[in-house]
Symmetry: D2
Subunit: 133 residues, 4 copies
């Protein structure tokens, strides 16, 4: 019942030729937060299924403020919905403590061997429920 | 009154450690198509304002099929809406002639000198209207 | 006894905030040429061993000219040396027909299952010898 | 008379489809260390000339060990040579405290307005001399 919070280090190369962090590179920063929860934290809790395969089905992103490197970036991530074979993340990205971006993603657990989506397991559901609001 | 169509060359490095084109790298492919129209084609028509500054305000993307390199990728891009100070693109990305992704973006012309959004000019509006359906 | 030549499509995002193609992105362009020969052309000749695993042991790169997007880029690639368990590529990258970069790479075939380097096979040697000067 | 040391955060996307940190992404990590010294630390010392323009003339890199995400990465960077219009960096990159990469770069201060190389200033020379061994 809490947000997952993580600092993400910007890189100089995240900026494009307009001199701002590129919109696509922000998506990479969201991926870092998502992977931190789904791969690293989940694995520490004994859950390796996401790390073995999970697919993004949808992203929605609103870019609110331009960001220039260097800046301190923090991503807050939580689970909005847990279905039978998919779940949804919501994100807020703070740059120097100002809200710079809001996003949502739909995730689908994926069985790499059969190359097919699979159901969310009960243990995965319990793990994800920790990060609902 | 037509779609803008462009082939985009995949790179081996567009794949991530799951062995598929990464979801964020698809966004880079959409950027290539968008920049091709807004920067290169527009400049050939005498319009350099977008190239001087334009910002993404929002993306929505649905990922429909996984893609593995090598594959032939074509992006189709058209203008859905033209407002006073923003406009919207829609995209379809075909990989080996199958629809792999649908997306929409909201774009905002941006004045780099003043660091502020600016209005769509009449010439830009006429240019964009060519690409409405 | 010929160079392998390939056009590589620049992307707008290859530029960094100095407004030039970033030095590291040039390395990605060289990778595209290398992978085109070692993975795609070799596989057409029945050789899939490189695609299953090959590691870069060393790069040397001289950056001769700045490049701005858009530009036509062609990479020429040839094999300089074939050893027992490694081989070397040389590259020239032309941007709008001017020599912009020279590079060399040392490559090591790699057995992913055992996580160890392996020897160049006779069939691989014959394949590589086609691209010596 | 000391090495500049900095931790660099790996990203999941630094891995390629072989499941290791890609050789080109290592170059981005070296860039982060270099930019940290030349742009951020130098600017804190009142020197903004590098941040306004500096070009890579040459890289040499030896890749010694494969790296898998997650890992703790530290880059050590020092100045090997200071000439009239160029200088050289040497690097060692440690992953989980093991030496994974050695590299050298030749850097050229660059005047963006005139699009030409420029000389190293006395203040820049004094700054760089701090980081010689």
């Amino acid at each position: 019942m809490a947000r997952y919070q993580t600092d993400v280090a910007l890189r100089w190369s995240d900026m494009d030729s307009f001199g701002h962090v590129n919109n696509n590179q922000f998506m990479v920063l969201l991926e870092e937060a998502r992977v931190g929860m789904m791969f690293t934290v989940a694995a520490e809790a004994g859950l390796t299924g996401f790390r073995e395969g999970v697919v993004v089905a949808r992203h929605e992103v609103d870019f609110l403020l331009p960001v220039v490197v260097p800046a301190e970036v923090r991503v807050e991530l939580w689970v909005e919905r847990i279905g039978n074979s998919s779940f949804s993340f919501a994100y807020e990205l703070m740059a120097n403590d100002k809200l710079a971006l809001r996003a949502k993603s739909v995730m689908v657990p994926y069985d790499v061997a059969s190359q097919r989506p699979r159901r969310v397991t009960p243990a995965e559901r319990a793990f994800l429920e920790q990060w609902t609001e």
